[in-house]
Structures are given as structure tokens and as C-alpha cells.
């Protein structure tokens, strides 16, 4: 059955491997579409999508907006900094007000984990989670695994290490779920203070030595140190972090194999990854961005196809 098992995309945890494969196959078609001279299809011309960003974002917001426009949906944008949220309105009220203007799909980023799940239980629209606190960021994990599939042919059987600030990262959690559902093995690597306590419960091994982790893996996904989420010091200095966990050309060249380097962005050049590595041919950072649009088109298209048409 070529239909998603869910009506919302709240996290990778809630979808099946078949869902992920269906999203990938659909994204293949959309990748062809966005490389045409005219990069637009009219499928969603009677769908309205609200992008609600209660937290800053550049790439995810642009990527979603572009995906929506390439599908011919009508788009409204909302940023919490310039809205009535600052006047004390609740989340449900804000969203219901927007939905009363006949909105079909809500794309939401929110600083609180579980905001998407909460909303999906209280409002009548399809919800896409674009990042909820340190919980999940499903479309990022989908585009990351899609990029691995594109580069290496398959995700199953591959060894992936996620390096950096695992504690504050929604990308890490969604990636772990997606990679495992697709049959890859996952390790995390970083300072002990930035690795969550019970992560082994997810069948993830911890490696605190970057070199060992790189020697083991096929793919290294480098995460950003999220200074804005850190209320205390998790490591002595940025310089020390870079020396222990920063990826540079010297360590990459000293490996006896060529690994794929990924980064979900935004990059702190010179901190978790040096410029020459980020721009090297082993890096697929820009492919990730391009695939992001195709993946988000696929997710929106598949969710929209579950909203039945009503003659009002």
C-alpha cells in the first residue's frame, strides 16, 4: 500500500521502515522534478500550509517553504518573535486561530520537546515536526539517511558515527531511530558530559576517542556544539573540544579508507569541523541541503494525500 501509516510526522520513532522507504521512493521522483527547467508541480494547489517557527531557523524554514512552493501549496509564515505569543496566547489558541483560516497542514518548530505530539492531539490538521527542543527533527534524519542511501547505495549494514553534542541534539535522536530502522549500526562520540545518560538503552555504543570512532565507521555525522542550549559549561574550552573531537584533514587522511562526512548545519567552521574537510569531496553537506527539499516535498505530498477532499 503506497500510503503512510501515520497522519502526522511527529518523529521517526512513530513511523515504520516501510514509511521511510515510501518517503525515499517519492523523494526520488521529486528530486527529478526539482532538476527540471520548471521545478514545480501543481499537486497541492488546494492545500494551505502554515509554517510556525517558535524558534530560530534558516535552512529548515527555507527548505520547507521551497518544498511547499514547488508543490504549489499556499504558504503562510509565522515567527513567534513578531506574534501574539509574546502577549501571552497559548499554543493551542495560536494554532486554532490560524487553522480557522482554513489551513490543512502545520509545520512547526518549537523549543519544547513533545510540542508536536501535544498539538496533534488537540487540533484538526496534519502536523509536521520541524524540530521540538532536544527531542526529534524527523525530516533532517530522513534527508540524512536519504543522502547516505544516495552516496553509498544503501543504508542497511552501514556503520555511522554521530559526533559531538548528543545531549542537546534532536538531530542525533532522530538519526539514531532512522538509521536503526533502516538496518545501520550507530555509535555516538563526544565528551562524556554531552552524551545523555541512558543512550545505551537505544542500542547505541559510546566511543570517546574520535580516531577509533572514525576508523570503525563508514559515515561520520558531525554535529554542532549548541552553545545556546548550554546553561553550564560541559567542557573546559572550545579549543580543547576542537582538539579532541574536531574533524580535520590530517586525521581524515590518516585513515586507511575514505569515509563520508556529513553535517546538518549550521557549521561552526574550525570548531567541530575544519573548512578544508567541510569543502572536501568526502563531504556531502551541500547534497544534504538539496536532498532536504526533495524529502520535504515527499513528506508533505504523502501527508496531503491522506487529507480527503471535501466539497464545501
Amino acid at each position: 500500500m503506497s500510503e503512510l501509516s501515520v497522519n502526522h510526522l511527529l518523529g521517526i520513532k512513530y513511523i515504520t521502515e516501510a514509511d521511510i522507504q515510501l518517503i525515499f521512493e517519492t523523494a526520488d521522483h521529486f528530486k527529478e522534478v526539482i532538476n527540471r527547467p520548471i521545478k514545480k508541480v501543481p499537486s497541492l494547489r488546494d492545500i494551505t500550509i502554515a509554517n510556525l517557527f517558535f524558534e530560530n531557523s534558516t535552512r529548515t524554514k527555507l527548505s520547507f517553504e521551497l518544498a511547499e512552493k514547488r508543490l504549489s501549496a499556499d504558504v503562510i509564515n509565522f515567527a513567534s518573535s513578531s506574534s501574539s505569543v509574546t502577549k501571552g496566547e497559548t499554543l493551542i489558541d495560536t494554532v486554532n486561530n490560524i487553522l480557522s483560516m482554513k489551513v490543512d497542514i502545520v509545520v512547526m518548530r518549537h523549543p519544547n520537546p513533545g510540542a508536536g505530539v501535544f498539538l496533534s492531539k488537540h487540533v484538526d490538521a496534519s502536523i509536521i515536526n520541524a524540530g521540538d527542543g532536544a527531542h526529534e527533527h524527523p525530516t533532517q534524519a530522513l534527508l540524512d539517511t536519504y543522502s547516505i542511501r544516495e552516496k553509498l547505495g544503501d543504508v542497511a549494514g552501514k556503520k555511522v558515527v554521530i559526533v559531538g553534542d548528543i545531549l542537546h541534539s534532536r538531530v542525533a535522536l532522530s538519526n539514531i531511530f532512522a538509521l536503526q530502522k533502516l538496518g545501520a549500526t550507530v555509535k555516538v562520540c563526544g565528551p562524556k558530559t554531552l552524551i545523555p545518560k541512558y543512550i545505551e538503552k537505544l542500542n547505541v555504543e559510546i566511543e570517546t576517542n574520535l580516531r577509533k570512532a572514525l576508523e570503525w565507521c563508514d559515515v561520520a555525522n558531525m554535529l554542532r556544539v549548541q552553545n545556546e542550549r548550554m546553561d553550564i559549561s560541559y567542557f573546559p574550552t572550545t579549543r580543547e573540544y576542537t582538539q579532541q573531537f574536531g574533524l580535520n584533514k590530517a586525521i581524515l587522511d590518516s585513515l586507511n579508507k575514505e569515509i563520508v562526512v556529513m553535517h546538518p548545519g549550521p557549521i561552526n567552521r574550525g570548531v567541530e569541523i575544519t573548512s578544508d574537510v567541510a569543502d572536501s569531496k568526502q563531504s556531502i553537506i551541500l547534497e544534504q541541503v538539496q536532498n532536504g527539499v526533495a524529502i520535504r516535498m515527499a513528506v508533505i505530498y504523502l501527508l496531503a494525500s491522506k487529507i480527503k477532499h471535501h466539497e464545501d
Binding site: 521522483h29 527547467p37 501543481p42 497541492l44 488546494d46 508543490l71 487529507i307
Partner: protein, 189 residues
């Protein structure tokens, strides 16, 4: 003795075209294409996914082997994202591959599909192909033209056989490479 009732009997179906008749029709269609398009230097063939692709490939092979026309350009166009029944049908729409590796700008395009019924697929294809440029002219070739069933003012330029079928009936086109035989059936439900 009366034959036993067999619930596994296929729905009643009538042969509209057998393998020989299809072979003759294909040859005629190929000749008609040559009459209009000469050496195909300004013409491209586009098979409509999914079922038009078999007919398009047959015609290309026929033109190349029997009529010695070289370098015929053939592409496949998927119309899923351009259909007007998205979210209106119970079955989810499944996409197929689009593959057009040539320029359609200022070319004569021949759309190729197996059955022309309501005309809605062709309407979608007309929109879809615009994403690849502005062709000079677009024509339509179908093996079966179901008369009196059109929802839109679309007619074929080349047709294999015209058929009168009532709405409950279905025209089924079988190809050797996909279905094991060359035949066209009228299936009564």
C-alpha cells in the same frame, strides 16, 4: 449434462484486437507517423506512464527496424503530480519514472498512450510537458480510442482502432513483454 458453475471463471471479455490485428495496426500507425514526420529529426516520441510506454517502445523498434529510421528520440512522462484527482480518489496516486533526456523546445512531440478514454490523462500530460520547455506542436497517438466517453475536448491524431464501450466496461490492452500476449480485450464488469 450442464457444465458446473465455476466461480473462478473470468469476467466476460471479448477480444477487440488479436496479435495479428495489433501488428497490422502498429505498422499502419508507424507509416502514418513517417508520412507526417519524415526522418524524425524534429520529432520526439513521449510515452505516457505507465501503460503508454509499451506502445511507444514497440513503435520505436518498428520504425527503426522495419523502416530504417535512425536516432528516434523516446522519452517517458509521468503525470502523477499533474493529475486533477489528487485527494479525490480512494487509491493513493503512485508515481512512475519520468525520463526525458532531450530538449523539447521547438520540437514536434507525439504523445503515445494505449487507451484514450476521458482525456484527463492527456490534459495532465499537456501541463506536465511544459516543465521541459515549449514544444512547437503536440500530437496524440493512441492504440484504442473510446468514442463518446470524453470529458474534455481532446481527440487523437493517430488511432489504432475506434471502440464504442459503455462506461461500466473496461478496455484492457495486453503486451507480450508485460502480460504475456498481444491482445486488446473489452472486459464487462
Amino acid at each position: 449434462m450442464l457444465p458446473k458453475y465455476n466461480s473462478e471463471l473470468p469476467m466476460s471479455q471479448k477480444v477487440l484486437l488479436n496479435a495479428t490485428e495489433i501488428h497490422i495496426a502498429l505498422n499502419r500507425l508507424a507509416c502514418q507517423l513517417i508520412e507526417k514526420h519524415d526522418d524524425f529529426s524534429k520529432t520526439v516520441l513521449i510515452g505516457i506512464q505507465p501503460r503508454g510506454v509499451f506502445l511507444a517502445e514497440r513503435l520505436k523498434t518498428l520504425l527503426e527496424t522495419e523502416y530504417k529510421i535512425k536516432n528516434i528520440k523516446l522519452g517517458y512522462l509521468d503525470i502523477t503530480f499533474f493529475r486533477d484527482d489528487f485527494r479525490r480518489s480512494d487509491k493513493p496516486l503512485e508515481a512512475n519514472k519520468t525520463q526525458i533526456n532531450f530538449i523539447v523546445e521547438d520540437k514536434n512531440i507525439v504523445f503515445i498512450d494505449d487507451v484514450l478514454f476521458t482525456g484527463r490523462s492527456i490534459r495532465s500530460a499537456l501541463t506536465a510537458v511544459q516543465s521541459f520547455g515549449r514544444p512547437l506542436e503536440i500530437e496524440l497517438l493512441t492504440l484504442i480510442d473510446r468514442r463518446f466517453s470524453r470529458h474534455l475536448p481532446i481527440q487523437p491524431d493517430y488511432r489504432g482502432r475506434q471502440v464504442d464501450a459503455i462506461n461500466g466496461e473496461k478496455v484492457k490492452v495486453c503486451w507480450k513483454e508485460n502480460d504475456g500476449e498481444d491482445a486488446v480485450y473489452l472486459v464487462k464488469s
